[in-house]
Symmetry: C2
């Protein structure tokens, strides 16, 4: 199978490694708006060849869209204009409603399968690509009933090969759940980094004193705005809703501190501890 | 050297492992308000013997106070009443101002060295004790000039043996810095867990969709209120100050979302990214 990947960053590059390693991809073609990224990807042997967009799309059996979300909005309708019945287009985006709205009436909609492999790190670019990124993680397939059955089967073959399990969601539900379990974590982490940078002017002290707890909470604050701003733009309403709730929860801790209501504080930590039943 | 540890939980138990392993401790005596904890600690071979408080204190060359912070406030003055000139008392507490205020005029103040080994996990109890917890981490020695020189040397021997490096702070500065780089992370994580538990009623969905990013941000929300409420109580004013700043930073992201000011949002993420220069 020839697999074309548009956007050779953390996700595209990591997929390239695992799809090649598994033997599913006999050839990986990289396409990217940045020639520097493509050159890096070739040097790291993430891809077999780089090609201009149209040439790469003509050649590939499966085309994986792995750019930031804003670029996907422009690229997906053009891709579907060009796609043949024997080809499948997949994406790896973190929001779905806006993207799927752009192709809802497209005659080739059936060739596209909206996928969200729930995996990543705080790093970006081809240099951040790593093996085994997807193993044991969940891939959400969104609005599968709008895709042709053989295209969904191909999507499952691609993400199954790299070790993912599957779940299905409708697009609005997907965006809502992701606001809760992913997008808010990033905003909280960005805000925490800004808080510490604002309050703690002594950077050497942060370095000396930062415990592993602080590092893990603030890890996501290293994430790229090129990736995340489009996600927050496209999922604005759900993100606002969950951000309001988060500020409310913090404000309650604040009120409990002001009132010295430490029994109440204790009870709310006990409730927060219940997250351990849900997470591994 | 005979080392007595009061409070055999995550920190006390992990110290017991490393001090014994290093050969510095020929005997580790465990003391704890909970006989069940002591029994577990003996079964796990964390300690050589368990003894009642007074008997253990009489026997030990070095006494390490590793209980929650509230219990330390009661125990430390009593310990200093009993301590001999050939003994050293250390603590491992996360706040210092309130604790040190309780013994500021004690005639045996010099035998006590206020220490804060900046290491831990989200787990607690003797079953959470692990080897190598302290290696490469920082131990803050607070108000060292109020301690006898030989007692400070002993403290450095104990924490140096388990692989820590040292920094010195005055007690108010310690509590302030710890509010920034440790305590606020925990409140942010507790609030994030409560946000998700409140908004996402479908626990199976959290389990399926939770990415590694969410898990790392919310990891600290598993931490015990028995440890953390006393810290927030004793460091209330600094924690309130930094919590206000954190809510302010989140509120600015909220305003930017409402106004669709995504250029401003982008700029603030770029600023947050600077945390990567400070953290490893």
């Amino acid at each position: 199978m020839i697999i074309g990947i548009i956007g050779i960053g953390l996700i595209g590059g990591s997929l390239a490694i695992s799809l090649k390693e598994s033997g599913l991809a006999e050839q990986i073609i990289g396409m990217d708006a940045s020639q520097a990224n493509l050159d890096k990807a070739v040097r790291r042997r993430l891809i077999d060849d780089d090609l201009p967009l149209e040439a790469g799309i003509r050649l590939a059996d499966v085309i994986i869209l792995a750019t930031p979300m804003d670029a996907m909005l422009d690229l997906l309708p053009d891709l579907l204009d060009m796609v043949r019945k024997d080809q499948t287009v997949l994406d790896v985006g973190s929001t779905k409603q806006t993207l799927l709205d752009t192709v809802v009436d497209h005659p080739n909609r059936g060739r596209f399968v909206a996928c969200h492999p729930m995996a990543g790190t705080e790093f970006s670019g081809p240099e951040a690509a790593i093996p085994h990124l997807f193993e044991g993680k969940t891939c959400v397939i969104v609005d599968a009933e709008d895709s042709d059955q053989d295209a969904v089967d191909t999507a499952k073959q691609v993400f199954g090969t790299v070790g993912m399990r599957f779940t299905h969601l409708e697009r609005n539900a997907h965006d809502l759940h992701c606001a809760y379990v992913s997008h808010i974590s990033h905003i909280a982490s960005f805000a925490l980094a800004l808080t510490v940078l604002e309050k703690e002017k002594d950077e050497q002290r942060i370095f000396e004193l930062a415990s592993s707890g602080f590092s893990s909470t603030v890890r996501l604050a290293k994430s790229s705005p090129d990736m995340w701003v489009p996600i927050f733009r496209q999922n604005r309403d759900h993100v606002l809703d969950v951000l309001d709730e988060h500020i409310e929860q913090l404000s309650r801790f604040r009120t409990q501190l002001i009132k010295r209501d430490f029994d109440g504080f204790y009870e709310r930590i006990r409730r927060a501890n219940q997250i351990e039943k849900i997470l591994k």
